[in-house]
Amino acid sequence: MVINWLQVLMNSLVWGCMYLLVAVGLSLTYGLSRFPNFAHAEYVTFGAYMAYMFFSILGLDLYLSVGLAVLSSALLGGLSYVLLFKPLKSRGASLIHLMVASIGLGLLIRHTLMQVFGGGILSFKMIWPCISIGPVVTTPLLLTAIATALIVATLLHILLMKTKLGKAIRATADNPELAAASGIDMDRVSLFTWLLGAALAGFSGVFLAMRSSLVPLLGWKVLLQAFAITLLGGIGSFYGTLAASFILSLSENLGVVALTWLGLSADYRSAVAFIVLVSTLIIKPEGLISTVKRRA
């Protein structure tokens, strides 16, 4: 079996970028609000369906559609924080209650989408020409995904390091009590993080759906990877997530190579994420870059 290693690297790069967009939001909200939001997967799905609605149903311009989809996802994330999670937290809901509520929210979003758009497979009906860069094959869509992820990462870096809001986010993620005592408006920081996280998730949904097809389980299918990345990188750490996205993506693609070589189904690629997840929890639960103090 001849393996085009450069192609494997390319695939890892592409998937790493897409995973990054999904996982950043999850990691940041998890670190800030101190619970894993299982509905995050549905922000991904929602973004994709919104893009579909604007582009394929309403016939709007592609870029406009994507922009609106991203904004709608942000809105969804913001609403879920303001209407559900913030009030629950202020009522002292336990971690388990928050998790259960987030699962419920996710199911609500997913099945509402299924009701409106039908539960079947939808397609953006786009044909992407294959571009060959040397021995590597890719499409304009995937290149755009890479470019988007790089731009987003750079912007986030600038935001976190250079702006007041960014410093506030980092401070709150690191030590919420101290941040609150220092006069940082926790509410604004949280709301911004939730809006941003959901927006990026929605953005990734667009890429994921355009790459293959649009199904209701679009987001759920990548949730395991998102969690593995979040845990590996360190909950709440943008830089950790950045590194972990590519580490996982590379591992997964190498895993697919191994699976094919062993004659096993490529469906098992999710098992790689599972192994990464479990290994992280066993070896170093704080992840690569631990910003959040472990609750004793």
């Binding site: 388990i96 419920g104 609500l108 299924m114 929890l281």
Partner: protein, 319 residues
Amino acid sequence: MPDPLMYALDAVAYAGIFGMLSLSLNLEYGYTNLANFGKVAFFMVGAYVAAVMARMKYPFAVYALVAALVAGFIGLLTSLPALRLREDFLAITMIALGEVMKLIVKNEEWLAGGVWGLSGIPPAVVVQGLSFRERLLVQIALIYGCLVACYVVCELIAKSPYGRVLKTIREDELLAAAYGKNVFRYKACTFALGSAVSGLAGALFAQYMGTVSPYMFEPTVTFSVWMMVILGGPANNTGAVLGAFLVEGFHRSSRLLKDYIGLPLDPINLQVMLTALLVITVVFYRPQGLLKERITPLDRGLLKKLKPMYRRVKTWVRS
């Protein structure tokens, strides 16, 4: 137009099976604060083991026991690494585990029929010459017999010193350890037992449905069981069973609601959406559930009732 009585009896049967799942989760979460978000995985294991063995014509008593033991054993294995994790990590891991197990089942056709599952599972009790309705009643009798047995077991545990330790672990692990309880052992034991009960429920489910397939074991099942425990009231076994009845009733009504609303809604979507809203409402307004935990001293009630019964059974057995 399905016979409404059949529909109701079907709901009753489901409620009985889910009642057992609810009791098992109540033991794990309500008494020991273990966030078992992988309940459906053990349910599935029990169902598949039972399916395979039932098709090989083993009697119910045998395959139900094996299903419970296998599920319990896998629960024990899972607990060894998993229980050291804090709640949210445990939840994530368990959900992921369920998905990976489904993945294996879907892909390994030789093992469990792949995406098509296994069919032709004979019912546990076959009595000749019964009508469909009567066979359904026999099923319900079997299911509820097992449910009652599970209920008794869970109550005995809750009212025993073992249950006292579980509650202590739930509230304050450090205290439990400081007073000599090997916290990890208790958690693992409870998790294994809960998984075994789930496996038994799975076995009953398999022979009731007649077929099993991976699509019957989505994470929504785990979610529904959590709803049952939260709604009924954690750490209250009666509440767990009550929660099962209420949630199953809610599922069924919301599916029927479609006929009365007149909107072109898919019944399953409607069911999930309303269930999700229900859970969110409960978590919001009454997170402690309907029935409260009983803080009674240990040997009142059940023990006093059981002691003479135990003696009577013993003398009956001896005669």
